[in-house]
Amino acid sequence: MSLGPGQQLLEVVAAVILVTAWVSLVHRRLDALVGLYALQSAAMAGVAVLVAYLYDAPLLYLTAATIAGLNAVIVPRVLLRIRRDLEIPGEVNMFVSVRTSALAGLGCLLLAELVVGPLTPLAQIPAAGLLPISVTVVLIGLFLAATRRKAFTQVVGMLEMANGVFLAGLALTFGLGLLLELGVAANLLILAIVGRLFLYRMKDSFDTVDADTLRALEG
Amino acid sequence: MTSPDLLLLALSVSAFAASTLAGLVDRGEEPRRGRVSLGLALLGAGAGGVWAAWRLVEGGTWTLDLALPGFTPSGGAPTALQVSIGPLGSVFLLLESVVGGAVLLASLGYLREHVHERRGSLAGMLGLFLLSLELVVTSGTVFLFMVAWEGMTLVSYFLVVHEHGSWEVRRAGLFYLVMSHVAGAAVLTSLLLLAVGTGSWTFAGMAPEVSHLGGWWTGAIFLAATLGFGTKAGLVPLHVWLPEAHPAAPSNVSALMSGVMIKMGVYGLVLVGFEILGPTASLWWGFLLLVLGATSALVGVLNAIAQQDLKRLLAFSSVENVGIIFMALGVALVFLSLGLPALAGLALLAALFHSFSHGLFKSLLFLGAGAATGAVGTRDMERLGGLARPMPSTSLLFLGGALAISALPPFNGFVGEWLLFQALFASFTTGSLATELTFTAAAGVLALASGLAAYAFVKAFGVSFLAHPRTLEAAAVKADAPGTMRGGMALLLGLCLLLGVAPFLLLGPLSAPVAGLVGAPALDYGSGGPLGELPRPGSQGGSLAIGVVALLLAGGILVAWVLRRAPSVVAARSGPTWDCGMDAPTARMEYTASGYAQPMMRLFAGFYRARPHTEPASGASGRSGVLSRIGRYEMEVEYPLLGELFLPLSRGVERLGSRISRLQSGGIHTYLGYMVLTLVVLLILLRIAGGGSP
């Protein structure tokens, strides 16, 4: 394994993304969850910068700046603001226990390695760990959205998923598909806005942000 | 033939037989009854031990064909009688003799103090039990093995129900008998499949022929063997008899059953899985054993934590240790089927070493528990306590056993687990992610199990032996255990420490049998290196010179002692325990056994299916003030894998039973009669089947 220091750093930053995803599974405070998302996005920007530098893709610097500004700063701020405005209680309510979630996080990594591990040596990707980690982050985001009660947490989960998709795109395309990144970034913005509207609407109509109460409307 | 083998065998067998007779006909004065029998059995164990040691030094296999009238002496016939002891058998014979000897010694005192009826027959049955154990490991043919195996089960049943005055003991005994019977059937199935498949009725004759058998065939044999031997060993989910039978038996019997008899399951599986089927091992066998073993380790130790009955706690801890041994066997099989015999040897060495270790410290703990529970008259830990003052030696010996079983250096339990950790670590040479992750996870399970075992044994020792006596009965204990009991326990603890400090004393003799079983050159564990360090296979892993570690430990303790003992200006005083300024602390303020277990039960509430009920204090009642309001906290616990798993099975049996209820008379003896009849019919069938082809 003759990794240059650049690739090594890339791997490390990718691992940071993985750890933020895992820790977001065990945290019980919404604000901390948002903070983790911000950290994850900052790491994502770091990945973009590194890929840009290592593979000489200057356009990616732009992407990195977008992510750093939008995902790491603006979106978290908006989210925190929403939480304060809507007076959502700060606790994460979950359907499964924290310990199960943590183990599920490990399961996501194993599943990802099982699925994309064999592809890794074939694809020309910047760093071996990037692809499985991106799939893991997608899975964890999905898990987070699926097993948490509050709509707010579900939004954070979806945002993490989007981060994962972006990372996969970066890994597979060497950052050449700028369109993809921009698309993802735009999606994020839309997601945030939609999420905000969604939350407001729910607050207005039901006076709660517990998605579980929507069940009461069924049948 | 004037080999010492024959002499020692004859001496050992005849001493055990004489011990049985002497015990059964003993009409001496009651408190002394059974002494002659125990003495003779000690002689038998001594002869057996010398023989096993001689066999291990000599190497190779020693065989004796017995020509009895009506039985064909040659190996071709199903009823051939052949005594055969190879390296593997010698290892287990050594275990039986050492543990048996110590337990017999302790039984001298135990019988006098704590057994109140039929001492003679108990002693005699102990002799017969040891004889059957010796026969199990020295049988060379299917026929003799099955006779010895069923004999072992029957004799141990009689030992379990020795105090058959109580309904619980009879129930536990019957439960044990039924499960052992099913296990015996599985063992028989496995061995018959082997015999039919290979066309040989001797174990030695089977091994060369197994390569002709197909994968389905060997897989079926292995599964049946796992079922049968796993039940005897107490593997989850076949362990359910074990926590019932062990507490019901007298403590010296529990010591032998847990220390030696359940190891016969390990012996049987190594015999079938390695010695005979080893070359044909498939990958899934190893993973099956690894998963079963890991499950047993966790289920066993988690249950042990929750117990209030001291002997049940020890019984569940046996389930845990058997789990660890089976994990090691599984690891060995995985390496074997991956074509890595040296690593398989390391794992198998860990399994055998740990079997030996567990035999030593578990029998020690059962004897210590027997002394404590016998003195107080109850097995409930909540009613013991404060025994360290009247029984200082017993409590010190029990503490030593607790340290050993918690896998702490410098005791033998640590060395066994260290070897297994090294074998698991060696998975990084296989280059397969699945194996690496499984083995690493197994290492995590093993670490968790040993951490939990330490938790269980701090609880067992602390609650039973330390602090205030919890009841008047416990406070009334005045004397330590009898000298012979302390002697037996001290012998066992001494061996635990010796094998912990100088493990190569046992690993050396074990390495040749292990090398034979895995078909690889022996790892040189005999010399132990210039400083007693254990070598590692290839360049993997770490090394261990536990003797040096023990020296360091002694040095550290010396430093602490000097710091502690340096002349002090102020002399040590004693005073009452601090109690927040209330009345003098009483036993009711101590942590209870269930209180000690509570954090773990809460963490694993899903496993225990614990349901806490809290009733708040009803406001007006009681004295005024904050402290005297009485609330109520209850925790309901179910023991998993006992009820529902066997419920459908038992319902089906019940339905079947009601159909053939005409055969039922309700007495245990009738059922025993049926079993004997079945055995006889089976033997006759074998005789007929073998008659055609001598």
């Binding site: 394994m1 220091p5 090594q8 791997e11 691992a15 750890v19 895992w22 943590a102 490990l106 990594l109 890794t120 071996a128 | 404060g386 360290a388 200082p392 896998a407 702490l408 250096p409 950790f421 090294q422 698991l424 990084f428 992610l433 690496e436 690493t440 290492a443 995590g444 670490a447 040993s450 951490g451 330490a454 938790y455 602390g462 032996f465 330390l466 360049s539 770490g542 360091l552 430990l553 040095g555 550290g556 303790i557 010396l558 602490a560 502690r564 002090s568 200006v569 002399a571 040590a572 004693s574 005073g575 325990t577 601090w578 109690d579 101590e590 942590y591 209180g595 509570q598 954090p599 809460r602």
Partner: protein
């Protein structure tokens, strides 16, 4: 070990033990100092732990009337186990003088022995608090023992050894590529373990004396005088051992490989610098977090297992890539 004079081995061993005994209280004092400074308190001086030890060593002992003989010897064994563990951690000279005689698994065993003895002693006096501390401490120990083993496996995988010296030497030989994601993940798991094993926030509050929240302090409530001194000193040695292991594996550079005076001095200086840096970070962390409810620590333990197992699976990935 070959080619070494016995005198050199003994001198190195002795210096390691003395270093551990001498440096442990200083680090505890440093962490306290950082905490008090960041909380805008003056706080006790750096050397306060030494003064406390001296005071306790000079005091007489009061034993509970309930306790048996166990309390009179168990503290030595616990302290002795910690001293015996010292040579299995890499200090300033590699390979460790008697490292051949054990590996990190031995370290785990010796730390567990010390914990076991303290937990048993806590039950001896029959105090409710002793039982409370004992069960909680064993509970934590059982939960984090898997973490320790998994981290050892993850750390040891690249060098193929469970021995601290070999792991550090291999790591140092890799240069910067040593800092792989797998290593960082495993080290993160170890950091969680470090907080739990040494009774730091958020697992246990080393400064509290409120009975119902204590873990370690509740266990040793019935001890006094020299016994308490041994326990406290032992606790600081345990802290130092784990912290040193952490920094040595994470930053494996700068150990002396030969017995030259200059290289030894340099290595010693680097060792102290690394430890001070880590203590500063830890003190900062401790001012930022609050103590967690005991049962949430179970979640933390599972997270540390996940980190360590994840590290193993990444080892494999990077090894292929």
């Amino acid at each position: 070990m070959s080619g070494w004079g016995e005198a050199q081995t003994a001198a190195l061993l002795l210096s390691e033990v003395l270093l551990a005994l001498g440096l442990g209280p200083l680090l505890i004092g440093l962490v306290r100092r950082v905490k008090s400074r960041s909380q805008r308190r003056t706080g006790p001086g750096l050397l306060q732990p030494y003064r406390d030890l001296a005071k306790q060593l000079g005091k007489g002992t009061v034993y509970s009337e309930t306790s048996s003989g166990l309390t009179r010897y168990s503290t030595w064994i616990g302290f002795g186990a910690l001293l015996a563990a010292v040579p299995f951690v890499p200090w300033f000279f590699l390979p460790s003088p008697i490292g051949f005689s054990g590996d990190l698994i031995v370290l785990v065993g010796l730390l567990a022995l010390s914990r076991f003895m303290t937990a048993v002693t806590a039950l001896d006096a029959g105090s409710t608090f002793g039982g409370m501390g004992s069960t909680r401490d064993m509970w934590l120990g059982a939960l984090f023992e898997p973490t320790f083993l998994l981290v050892i496996f993850a750390w040891g995988a690249p060098s193929g050894s469970t021995q601290a010296s070999a792991i550090v030497l291999h790591g140092a030989s890799l240069g910067l590529t040593h800092l792989s994601p797998a290593l960082l993940l495993a080290s993160a798991a170890f950091a969680v373990l470090l907080l739990a094993e040494t009774g730091r926030l958020p697992v246990d509050n080393p400064a509290t004396h409120l009975e119902l929240t204590m873990v370690h302090e509740a266990m040793v409530l019935e001890l006094g005088g020299r016994d308490l001194a041994l326990i406290d000193w032992g606790k600081s040695v345990r802290f130092l051992l784990l912290l040193e292991l952490f920094v040595a594996v994470l930053l494996p550079w700068g150990d002396a490989l030969s017995l030259g005076l200059a290289s030894l001095a340099l290595a010693l200086g680097l060792l102290v610098a690394k430890l001070f840096g880590a203590s500063l970070l830890l003190g900062n962390l401790e001012t930022r977090v609050a103590k967690w409810r005991l049962f949430r620590v179970g979640d933390l333990a599972v997270l540390s297992w996940v980190l360590a197992l994840g590290s193993i699976s990444l080892t494999y990935l990077v090894g292929v890539g």
